[in-house]
Point group: C2
Chain length 531, copies 2
């Protein structure tokens, strides 16, 4: 096969090209190759006079924006039988390579997509070129110029099963060091296989993954997880915008610790000190008092809790909302419930590929939800738990095991992984929570659960400064420290309710993953501050 001259081969373009165009492009390609050749760094001993592939392989110099080359690259996911015999340029990672006599099998990876390539000695590919290919380090970024060939037997190990690339040129764009702290193959292995064949396969433990996150994030599952996470954010915002909400930004550096000073990080602030906000709640409420009516904010939230569990982070992304209502906080709670329903529908309809990709590594039970969502009152949950043998008082908070058990009981009874628990006991909620007008043992507050774990907490807030003062006094809170908070309600404020959602928890539980560090791109916990 002669590069660029065979009549049946065409560059892949948007349109069929005229002879003139083809000629022009061939000329340009030649010119580009010449330039590339100039910058190539093939060791002298590899470029021997008898090497028929000179100028067809090597290491590109540093891409420093020397030239604007109008070369069309084809994405791996687009490589299929439709492109049979076409010549394409592909830039991707060298996922694996295996030399075998006069040929070298490679797999090129782009995100979750992979394709097999063959560099084989023939009339345009030299022995030297095959040797060069077999020495390229895994994870290096390479450019290949190759013809698309249909295979007879499906390639099971690649995402592109029906075609392979017959490589004519191979250039290293950015080399990876030869010793990698983890291999993508190992890090991508299905959890099931890890468990079954523990002795045969290499497992990559979580700390190794997180220490080398740049590599770990390259696995198909991670590529999918963080795309789905971006999807949750987009859905959250778009749904709320369609309901008339306004996006706001709230400060993370605050002058006073909002909830009494426990679990708060201190910041040196010029000659004084300040704190990192544990929640945007005060600012959301101020926006309501300032007539923004319905607001949301997506941003970092900080918790200085020394909790080393599967579901705690010291920094996470909060999806927060707050909304004025006319008469009853259920106007807000229904909006929240509806928002979740629409998020779940959006994920199901728009992120099926990502969910499947995650499922190939982790065993994911599909997430079940009801429309409209199930809302239970706290006493009902207490009754269910008691019937299951749990010893819990009317006004006790739910322990983590209680929550999980309740999740299982509700799943069994209602077949839903998502539900809202309304009317929490007043005693277990913060001072600003509006008491239930009918029974002040309870309150106008709610938690929301996915697969038995809490992902959101919220309430109607007390919007009357006098009542707020009474409740704070009842909680023995130093009024001087919350003066700014109470003062925000002195100029008229509509009744309002809201809540805060932990983004990483939503993604973890939606996908049925076992650790929140899997859904935080660069997680922070009491023991981890890097990378």
């Amino acid at each position: 096969m002669v590069v660029g001259s065979s009549v049946n081969l065409e560059e892949v373009g948007d349109q069929v090209k005229s002879k003139k165009q083809q000629k022009k492009e061939a000329k340009e390609a030649l010119k580009a190759e010449k330039k590339s050749r100039k910058s190539q760094e093939v060791p002298a001993n590899e470029v021997q006079p008898e090497d028929i592939s000179v100028g067809k392989y090597g290491t590109l110099g540093l891409i420093q924006s020397t030239e604007k080359l109008d070369r069309k690259f084809t994405d791996v996911k687009e490589l299929d039988v439709e492109l049979k015999d076409h010549l394409v340029w592909v830039r991707g990672r060298l996922h694996t390579s295996r030399a075998k006599g006069k040929q070298c099998f490679i797999v090129i990876r782009q995100q979750q997509y992979t394709i097999q390539g063959i560099v084989a000695v023939n009339d345009v590919v030299s022995k030297q070129m095959v040797k060069f290919a077999s020495n390229v380090t895994k994870e290096s970024i390479i450019d290949v110029y190759a013809s698309v060939q249909v295979v007879k037997v499906e390639i099971e190990s690649c995402s592109q099963k029906n075609v392979e690339l017959n490589v004519n040129q191979l250039w290293v764009v950015s080399p990876a060091k030869s010793q990698l702290p983890l291999l993508i193959e190992d890090a991508s292995r299905p959890v099931k296989d890890e468990e079954e064949q523990d002795g045969l396969n290499i497992r990559v433990n979580q700390d190794t993954r997180l220490d080398n996150r740049v590599l770990d994030l390259r696995t198909p599952a991670n590529q999918a997880i963080f795309r789905l996470e971006a999807g949750v954010c987009k859905l959250f915002r778009d749904i709320l915008l369609s309901k008339g909400f306004v996006e706001i930004h709230t400060p993370k550096i605050i002058s006073a610790a909002s909830e009494g000073g426990a679990n708060v990080f201190t910041v040196s602030y010029f000659k004084g000190s300040a704190y990192l906000a544990q929640s945007p709640q005060l600012y959301k409420q101020m926006a309501i008092a300032a007539d923004f009516d319905k607001v949301f904010t997506v941003g970092a939230v900080f918790r200085a809790e020394d909790s080393n569990t599967h579901r705690h982070l010291t920094e996470f992304v909060g999806l927060d909302l707050e909304m004025a209502f006319k008469y009853h906080y259920h106007e807000v709670l229904n909006t929240i419930g509806d928002t979740f329903t629409e998020i779940f529908k959006g994920l199901r309809d728009q992120f099926n590929d990502e969910i499947e990709t995650v499922g190939q590594q982790f065993s994911v039970e599909p997430f079940k939800f009801l429309q409209p969502p199930l809302i239970l009152e706290y006493p009902t949950a207490v009754t269910m738990l008691r019937q299951a043998g749990v010893n819990i008082g009317d006004e006790d908070d739910l322990s983590t095991p209680d929550e999980k058990l309740l999740g299982r009981l509700i799943k069994a009874k209602y077949d839903t992984d998502f539900y809202i628990l309304d009317k929490f006991p007043l005693a277990v909620r913060p001072f600003y929570t509006m008491p239930d007008p009918k029974d002040n043992k309870y309150s106008n507050s709610y938690d929301i659960f996915m697969r038995g774990e809490e992902i959101m907490s919220g309430a109607q807030r007390i919007h009357d400064p006098q009542f707020l003062t009474e409740r704070a006094t009842h909680h023995d809170i130093d009024l001087e420290k919350i003066k700014a908070y109470i003062d925000a309600f002195r100029f008229g404020c509509p009744p309002h309710a809201g809540g805060g959602i932990g983004l990483e928890r939503v993604v973890m539980l939606y996908l049925g993953l076992d650790n929140i560090r899997k859904t935080s791109m660069f997680p922070r916990d009491p023991k981890r501050l890097t990378p």
Copy 2:
């Protein structure tokens, strides 16, 4: 006029209602009124036997979600001649009130919309009710039940100029204290009027505004500014998503100060300490090295600079992006330029009302931009400045006055408020900036300006660990401190470029405002940490 019984009057609904429906609703309204009456707190001395308006006015009790009242409220902005003679419920702020004999003129406000109301003694409104209305404090939230009346002479002082409300019921939902630290009227006054009639009108200075932000944010201009700011965020994200970018979230708490430790806030982190990220750059670059290809993030950025200027904040919202490219960083720069063009078009097309509302208080020159945007190279800018008499060396950075002058020169010559300055001198850029391959006095870096002020800085980053090490050494940077940064590129990384945009600056300069504190909802500067 008899409430709810006149045949010509209809509740405003989505559809024309059947008699049966009307009857049912009237019954429900009556029931609701009865309940309201029960919870009203009209002082005993006002409820006298001869008061024909008993049960038609007063203070609602605390709205504690006692009942789910299905009462339809009409937004002020929807009140127009179409609703002539309709009876409507409106909940809004008491903007102003003026008692005059047997009647009280009020203005009700909802965000930027206002309507006049009249409470006048007649066959259903008593003297006592008029007195009560005239005593309601400004900024209280009130419910009125009123008929929409077409006026003969336009009401200049309200947004709804052709109709007014003839009030039949008036209830206080949430009272404001009687002494307000600022009046919305004063805080909304056009800047021009302030300047012309300094002696007559009360000015509200910036610190008073910021100290009482809950009130200040209620001005029409502020309502519009922060809606437009939300629009910039939405446009930025939607445009980038349509170009294949993925949204990521980067940690704000970091273990090492990325740029040498100057201007960075320190955080106590359990038994150790950490820093607040001055930029998400390292994490964006790691996402690129991890094959996310094109990423953006919107989030808090922290700068511990003791700069008390009109354009510096210690915490601001960064709109950051990073993108792998094939051969030339202009692939990225053109994407950025195009993104701005689309943002400006989106603002112009979707936020015209907001721009006009801001223009009523502040004199705003329309923002001009070219398609495609103007890109100048640094030496061209230096030449323009020299021709204007500025003494500047080839490799000097631009001072703030230089930038402003350059903005005026470019506006005069090209009629654009937006331009990109490419190819900054290498000497004035950080160590990770890719040098220009043709002339290493310069670099592959750019700043972007709006009305002569910088709103974005960016560059092609060095993606080769060895070259990065060389450049860091050249800058006398302790290699140990940036080890993690350099290591991120050891496993293969595509060439990439990006940049960070300051959201508040974009909004300030787009609207032609004079201070960044006007476009940060709760600004943080070296002297301000509250509210």
